[in-house]
């Protein structure tokens, strides 16, 4: 009996040897910030749920270059801000990517080593500044016509980033939403696109919704979107995410 006890103790010792405490820190770090556009240095207006920050966790491979590191994507809010509170601490390569702007990293473009190295630990704020394809400004902010349609006008400017060819403008939409989250899918009141050409740059472009808004006595949220396409004869302007929309700010109008 005593011997058996000895065996049990021995067995327990063996089992203990396999007990390593899993003490890897939980995802307790926060990364947040804003994507600015370089023209007026305002936050970049983007679509709802735009996944336009690519991040790569580089520290866990401990320098082993043959290990495969996958890309992850961070979403950005319409107003250009982002905030993620469940990140593992570590070193990340962060790259604004596949959005309505020129490539961010002029040297590495979108190669695996592109982007900025950010050590994420605790709460880190990291802003980026990008060059959007288009800047769209309100000329006449949205108003409600007598027959409850939405009208407004804008003008756009094609931006240039040194070293890059410009894509061509493609089309424009008037977006009308009943919530603050006006997105590129809010096309119901303006179902037909407005075709754009490059020479419309700087001109006043007017929009009026195809029909009246459905409800009165509430607020509607309006913005205008425009996108670009690969320039004719210049396939090199097919930048990642080509076709993503640039937007105006979201304007609230009260429909009486």
């Amino acid at each position: 009996m005593k011997k058996l006890k000895n065996y049990i103790v021995l067995l327990c010792c063996f089992m203990l040897a396999a007990c390593e405490i899993d003490n890897y820190d939980g995802p307790d770090a926060t990364i947040q910030g804003t994507i600015f556009e370089d023209q007026a240095h305002q936050p970049l207006q983007v679509d709802q749920g735009a996944g336009i920050i690519r991040i790569r966790e580089t520290s866990w491979t401990k320098g082993d270059t043959s290990a495969y590191v996958g890309n992850q994507t961070l979403k950005v809010q319409q107003d250009g801000t982002y905030r993620n509170t469940k990140m593992f601490s570590g070193d990340y390569l962060m790259l604004p990517y596949s959005g309505p702007f020129y490539p961010y990293d002029d040297e590495h473009l979108d190669a695996d080593n592109a982007g900025e190295l950010v050590k994420i630990k605790g709460t880190i704020t990291k802003d980026f500044t990008v060059t959007p394809y288009l800047s769209i400004d309100w000329v006449e902010e949205p108003t409600v016509t007598a027959d409850n349609r939405i009208r407004c006008s804008v003008r756009f400017k094609r931006n240039q980033k040194p070293g890059y060819e410009m894509p061509d403008v493609r089309e424009a939409w008037l977006l009308v939403s009943r919530t603050i989250n006006t997105s590129a899918r809010d096309l119901d009141l303006y179902p037909r696109k407005l075709d754009l050409t490059n020479n419309m740059e700087g001109q006043v472009i007017s929009f009026i919704s195809d029909r009246a808004v459905k409800y009165t006595g509430i607020d509607y949220y309006i913005r205008v979107s425009m996108n670009c396409q690969t320039a004719a004869g210049k396939p090199q302007t097919n930048y990642p995410g080509m076709g993503a929309n640039n937007f105006t700010t979201i304007q609230k109008v009260r429909v009486p």
Partner: protein, 696 residues
């Protein structure tokens, strides 16, 4: 106990035990019975079984392909035909691409083919057919490589069965360039053509199958070279062009495509099916008699005991199946490509209106279709025709009897600009002017099959008829229950109409899938010819290219009962009609000549899983399918003068209203960077030499 004695007995015991155990140590060297040896495989019957295994796994987008779930699934509900404008159903109203990530299953078949290609030469002396089988294995390898190349561009080219070493590095192969990958596939097919005999068991490849397939592959390579370069910058890694083929190689591939197709057409082994003088019935027979007509070049057979599919249960109208059903709704955008319909030549859209903008009144539910192109009539189920004992009944509403079509003219009561989708009762907004709100047109939201809310109409003879307000087979517009047609159309191609409704259930269908048919070869040849003619090669191989394309297209059109081209000059380099600015303008192309050809492909090859890959190789997907909204055709019947047959199905005078579908009206947009799929992440982990695709 004496400790010393204990130890001694203990040691003796262990020694004796060990000796006993040693007795059972003979060398265990018996061949495992569960592994087939070469002797079992390398004979006629063994090879047939081995080949069957590979054919069974060939990745075809057939009845068992589901665009969401992938190859070899139970049902084919999700379809990428939604994205091309061919047809859609309630399960697929948004953009639907092919299922991503096909890789390992393909390389499994490639390895099996490589094993044959590697081993068979050793048996050449005893097996007279060894060379033919090597050719067949190369066809299979080419088939799978082509499916992969369409997705990813350049691929690791693996020509021998790989052998694993300790760290796995012997399995690592880098990607060849996109062009070299296609060259490899084409070389395999050349070998297959040279080695295989001119005939084969049904379902297996032969010389002509390989040639027909080669025309498809070479044409794909040629169009990627010609049109891909304009869309994408060069994607080169370490000097290897992984995506895109240099533009100057386009004509070479076009010539290969033309030669391969010409080989098939010259041989006359296969030809267009023309067995029935009735052109509508004849076109339907291409599928109904797929197993024994000369048009089927390469088919996949099904078998009731071993290998069934569910196409009829999924795709039939609800009244013609006991389960599922209603998932085959061709769109107006596709229907209006055909001849013999009231299409406005200025816009290319179905109008159904007279010069004053009033609806044209048709005498009955089938008059509109009576004059339509036979190919269309055979591709759709037509209202008023009885299939499987069910008289198809499609109607979106009835006019009250006070409206007499002989007296009252009706102006279009909906908007059809390809962009707006709205309910009939929401426009015009004025309730008095809206025919649906002022009580002029009656509808019900009951299940169309079980309508009790009928319209009682007393005719001139004093009889009271109970008229179903909406068709018993739909269409589905706001509020109607059941999974009836969304567009006002039901497709027919590939349905087995000889099944009874009671038989139509899941896992009961066995009609064959035609993977390659002669009509495609003719269209491949015509496309290659026009591409050559429009790019500096007016004559090739002793043939005038435009004249040849003209002959091929007219051959197809004549069989289809369509209007013939009048002269090769129609296949011109004039600009193609821009969208909604001419007949067939839904289909984009760089020139009018190519537009005519591409429309012909849309009409002839629809619902056959071909058009999706065409739009990708033409690189027009992102411009043609941009904020695209599916359209339908909605028939309305006048109760005035209507009759009812013995089954209770009414007929009367009809008008037809085309517009965007009300249900499932999602806008579809194909992203400009969707033409190449990303290399699966798992494969990148497995193989450090594998390079990513652009934008990955």
């Amino acid at each position: 106990m004496n400790m010393k004695k204990y130890r001694y007995t203990h040691i003796v015991f262990v020694l004796v035990l060990s000796l006993c155990l040693l007795g059972s140590c003979t060398k265990l060297d018996i061949a495992p019975k569960t592994i087939l040896t070469n002797e079992a495989i390398y004979n006629e019957a063994g090879i047939k079984a081995y080949m069957a295994g590979m054919y069974n796994h060939l990745p075809m987008e057939d009845f068992k392909y589901d665009a969401t779930d992938g190859y070899f699934r139970e049902l084919n509900i999700n379809t990428f035909a939604t994205s091309t404008g061919e047809f859609f159903n309630g399960n697929n109203v948004g953009m639907k691409l092919h299922r991503g990530g096909y890789w390992g299953d393909g390389f499994m078949i490639i390895r099996q083919a490589n094993t044959l290609i590697n081993d068979l030469p050793k048996y050449a002396a005893e097996l007279p057919k060894a060379e033919e089988w090597i050719g067949e294995a190369k066809f299979i390898r080419a088939y799978v490589y082509f499916q992969l190349a369409k997705r990813y561009g350049g691929l690791p080219v693996i020509e021998t069965p790989q052998v694993l070493n300790d760290d796995g590095s012997s399995l690592w192969v880098a990607r060849s360039s996109h062009a070299d990958t296609y060259n490899f596939i084409l070389a395999d097919l050349d070998d297959a053509i040279a080695k295989m005999p001119g005939s084969s068991e049904i379902g297996r490849a032969n010389k002509w199958v390989a040639a027909a397939f080669k025309s498809r592959v070479a044409l794909t390579a040629g169009t990627i070279a010609r049109y891909g370069a304009a869309k994408f910058p060069v994607w080169e890694v370490n000097g290897v062009m992984l995506e895109g083929i240099p533009e100057d190689k386009a004509n070479d591939y076009m010539k290969q495509a033309w030669d391969a197709a010409n080989m098939v057409t010259e041989s006359s082994v296969y030809q267009l099916h023309r067995g029935n003088p009735d052109k509508t019935a004849n076109f339907a027979e291409v599928w109904e008699k797929a197993d024994n007509n000369k048009e089927s070049i390469f088919i996949r057979k099904y078998d009731y005991l071993n290998w069934v599919h569910s196409n009829d249960a999924v795709m039939s109208p609800l009244r013609m199946t006991i389960t599922y059903g209603g998932r085959f709704c061709p769109t107006m955008n596709w229907v209006e490509l055909f001849d013999g319909l009231p299409v406005d030549p200025a816009t290319g859209r179905f109008s159904g209106l007279d010069a004053d903008g009033n609806y044209i009144v048709y005498d009955n539910c089938h008059q509109l279709w009576d004059g339509a192109e036979p190919r269309l009539r055979a591709s759709l189920l037509l209202p008023g025709t009885t299939y499987k004992g069910v008289k198809l009944d499609i109607r979106a509403g009835v006019f009250v009897s006070s409206v007499d079509p002989a007296v009252t003219k009706i102006k279009k009561f909906s908007r059809d600009d390809g962009a707006i989708s709205e309910a009939y009762n929401s426009w015009p907004t004025d309730a008095n002017a809206n025919l649906f709100r002022n009580g002029t047109i009656l509808r019900t939201t009951q299940d169309p099959r079980n309508q009790t809310d009928t319209y009682s109409y007393t005719n001139d003879q004093g009889q009271t008829l109970k008229i179903f307000k909406i068709g018993q087979d739909g269409p589905l517009i706001s509020g109607v229950g059941g999974n009836h047609t969304y567009t006002g159309f039901y497709g027919r191609k590939y349905l087995n109409l000889s099944m009874t409704t009671a038989q139509t259930a899941l896992h009961e269908s066995t009609q064959s899938w035609i993977e390659i048919r002669y009509a495609e070869v003719l269209l491949n040849k015509a496309e290659a010819a026009i591409e050559l003619a429009q790019h500096g090669e007016a004559n090739y191989n002793g043939a005038n290219m435009l004249q040849d394309a003209f002959t091929c297209i007219n051959d197809i059109r004549d069989r289809a009962g369509a209007t013939l081209l009048t002269s090769p000059a129609q296949l011109s380099m004039d600009p193609a009609y821009p969208k909604f600015q001419g007949t067939g303008s839904f289909v984009e192309a760089p020139t009018r000549g190519l537009q005519l050809l591409r429309i012909e492909r849309y009409k002839e090859l629809a619902f056959e899983s071909k058009i999706y890959w065409d739009l990708r190789r033409w690189f027009t997907f992102d411009t043609q399918i941009n904020q695209y909204r599916k359209r339908g055709l909605y028939p309305f019947m006048f109760s005035k003068g209507a009759t009812i047959d013995a089954s209770g199905t009414p007929d009367g005078k009809y008008i037809y209203d085309a517009r965007a579908t009300e249900n499932g009206s999602d806008r579809l947009t194909y992203g400009v960077n969707s033409y190449y799929e990303t290399i699966p992440g798992d494969e990148l982990k497995n193989n450090p030499l594998l390079q990513k695709n652009r934008n990955q």
